[in-house]
């Protein structure tokens, strides 16, 4: 499936690799932060609805 990139194979695949790693990092960080904020807000709002719980 990988095309014949000739003598520049390392260059091209390196560029794609770095791009995918950086995109995966920002996506993972965004999703993780989003999940944590959603969980914390839900917990806080639940505790306000049940002050004696």
């Amino acid at each position: 499936m990988i095309p014949d990139l000739g003598k520049y194979a390392g260059t091209v695949l390196g560029a794609y690799g770095i791009t995918l790693v950086l995109l995966a990092a920002i996506i993972a960080a965004s999703w993780r932060r989003s999940a944590r904020a959603r969980r914390d807000l839900k917990r806080l709002e639940a505790s306000r609805r049940q002050p004696n719980a």
């Binding site: 194979a9 260059t11 091209v12 794609y16 770095i18 306000r48």
Partner: protein, 242 residues
């Protein structure tokens, strides 16, 4: 119906929530198709060989690096004029995404430059203005974190965004202002004769669409997170009152 109703945090959350899954799916589809087409099914360039395939990541990332800052500029101006918190939070949410795009453009440009120019880096007008834009992104993110009071942070970062816009525009038009430098002109143009060959053009457009949709999905997700964090701070402040 006014556009400003989306500036209401509750309304923004209500509208953006259902849109997000489709946006993520469209971004993934365009990225996989565009990058797969570009990497696997386009020919080598007669001068650049297979390194031309870096075009499909370098150009979309560079475009989004500049456009992300311009989006932050628009959001900052809305914050200045109308004091809508969602616009300030959207600008904050976009900064790490824009910084990532700038880093991708710089890294892939250096990797591409080494075999084509014989150097990883040159103090060329476009490269230099792009590097300064990256420093502005880092400074912008740092300033948001450094100031505790959210409205003051939004004011200060909006000013920084206005100043940094000079470099965002310079990054785009540097090759027109200064004729010297290693970096070539734009790969895309309204004038069909001056942009890349058709065989590269279509997968490039698809990759650009993928990067744009990914940017939108990330900014919406991160803006929703910022709105939730703001709500958490407000609730904690209320609970802390005697």
């Amino acid at each position: 119906m006014s556009l400003w109703r989306y500036a209401n945090p509750a309304e923004f959350m209500r509208i953006s929530g259902p849109v997000l899954p489709a946006l993520w799916a469209a971004a993934a589809l365009c990225l996989v198709t565009g990058l797969g087409w570009g990497l696997l099914f386009t020919p080598d360039d007669y001068q650049q060989g297979s390194t031309v395939k870096i075009l499909f990541i370098h150009v979309p990332a560079a475009l989004m690096a500049i456009n992300a800052w311009l989006m932050m500029l628009a959001a900052s101006l809305i914050w200045f004029v109308r004091r809508h918190h969602v616009s300030a939070l959207a600008a904050r949410a976009a900064a790490p995404v824009g910084a990532t795009m700038t880093l991708i453009a710089l890294a892939t440009g250096a990797i591409w430059g080494e075999p084509m120019w014989g150097t990883w880096w040159a103090w060329d007008p476009r490269l230099t203005s792009f590097f300064i834009l990256f420093l502005f992104y880092v400074g912008y993110i740092g300033l948001w974190s450094a100031v505790d009071e959210p409205d003051t942070a939004a004011d200060l970062t909006a000013v920084l965004c206005l100043v940094g816009s000079v470099f965002a525009l310079l990054s785009r038009y540097a090759v027109l202002f200064w004729s010297q430098g290693l970096h070539q002109g734009a790969s895309l143009s309204l004038d069909r004769a001056s942009h890349v060959d058709t065989v590269f053009y279509r997968p490039l457009l698809l990759s650009i669409a993928g990067f744009f949709l990914l940017f939108l999905a990330l900014v919406l997700t991160r803006t929703r997170t910022e709105i939730r964090l703001r709500r958490i701070r407000a609730l904690q402040t209320i609970e802390a009152r005697p």
